[in-house]
Symmetry: C2
Subunit: 206 residues, 2 copies
DNA sequence: AGCGTATTTAATAGGTTTATTAAAATTGGC
DNA sequence: GCCAATTTTAATAAACCTATTAAATACGCT
């Protein structure tokens, strides 16, 4: 079941929400405690240090982000179809976790140690290496069969995450700049999703 | 000439380097003073507040980023050619200012007031509105002439900055992950630049 | 040389932050 | 219903950060 106590869970949730929206430095343990409805000392009682608490949330979240795209290819589809499917899923996942890209970018870019720990995990954990290899194999097969044009798998992956992530990274600014109301924003996001899929499909045409 | 005194200039430089790499919150005025080789009080003497100092650097930098792409179309080229040229220039500009995207993302996303001030500037300053309108006109003309396929100008612009910026946002991580040495990194960046141009050109094909 | 202004510093007030400690409250087993 | 372990709190130490103030130093001008 749940290896966390109720309060511990509340603290984790509060911390996650705050770290995601405000980043590591801008979030204080006092604030986390407040949001979780407990004393600040309790945060340290359960997690000892702020860094510790952050790591637990960070690793979990970031890995889910990476794994989302590399998910096993849905059965009974050709590559192009399944890629479209996966891009859609990835895009939706980030839409549902709009703040995640910010946290990842901030913490990975700002902190060498965290970056190294993260890369170490990515390089050594067979879950991720296998997922990547599998995706790469698919791409190579399609290229050899002439169904898509030659492209480096890294580039393809980068293109997809770039177009996805930047949509949400620029969103807060676009919201102000283009004066989105709720409906306009939804529509914009839908359009960006279409644009992502179109662009990648055209990119892959032989 | 230079309206800054020598020490003032040193402080600005130190602050710029630090804000760019570590962000606003993670940089202290003490640190800036240290790097500039002066007393911490001097930072406040010249710029009164840390926020003030930051603004001066931020506005200048961000506006140069936006303006770079919208530069007037180089003469004697057709649109496709000139677009390629401009994408190259934009990419190179960001390569020469690798840290800039981080600062922009962080500060615009994290701080509503800054975002509003920035958007206000972008919306009202004729330099930027004109540059954008001009680019939009070009795109419309090309579409009507059937030389490129229909696309929303906002989408086209977003695609370009996405592919450019994400290259450098992920770079610190890729550096560790793919264990780049100097040469490998350069090569990777060159490849990403090609990929950007290829992808956009294919995207625009009728 | 000497006065007045601009620059630079040391010292410090006032605030916030993380982390610890010791005591109080709560819970579950018997 | 009491004891012991767990959970929670209040209080506070120690570090650090921004901003200010008043004093010291350098500088330009006559």
């Amino acid at each position: 079941m749940n290896r966390y106590s109720a309060k511990e869970e509340l603290i984790l949730q509060a911390a996650e929400a705050l770290f995601l929206t405000k980043g590591y430095t801008n979030t204080s343990t006092t604030e986390i405690a407040q949001k979780a409805g407990c004393n600040q000392a309790l945060v340290h009682y359960y997690f000892r240090t702020k860094e510790n608490l952050f790591q637990q949330i960070f690793i979990k979240k970031v890995m889910s982000l990476f794994a989302e795209f590399m998910k096993t290819r849905p059965a009974g589809m050709d590559f192009t179809e399944s890629l479209r499917e996966r891009m859609g899923m990835y895009f939706d996942f980030i839409e549902a976790n709009k703040q995640l890209p910010f946290m990842v970018i901030n913490e990975l870019a700002a902190n060498l140690e965290r970056r190294q720990a993260f890369c170490e995990e990515l390089r050594t954990n067979p879950i991720y290496t296998q997922l990547y290899r599998q995706f790469d194999d698919e791409v190579q097969r399609e290229i050899q069969a002439g169904r898509i044009c030659p492209i480096d798998t890294t580039d393809l992956y980068m293109d997809i995450i770039s177009l996805t992530i930047c949509t949400f990274i620029t969103l807060p600014t676009y919201r102000v700049l283009l004066q989105f109301d709720n409906e306009a924003e939804k529509q914009y996001i839908r359009r960006r999703k279409e644009e992502l899929i179109t662009t990648i499909q055209k990119r892959l045409r032989p």
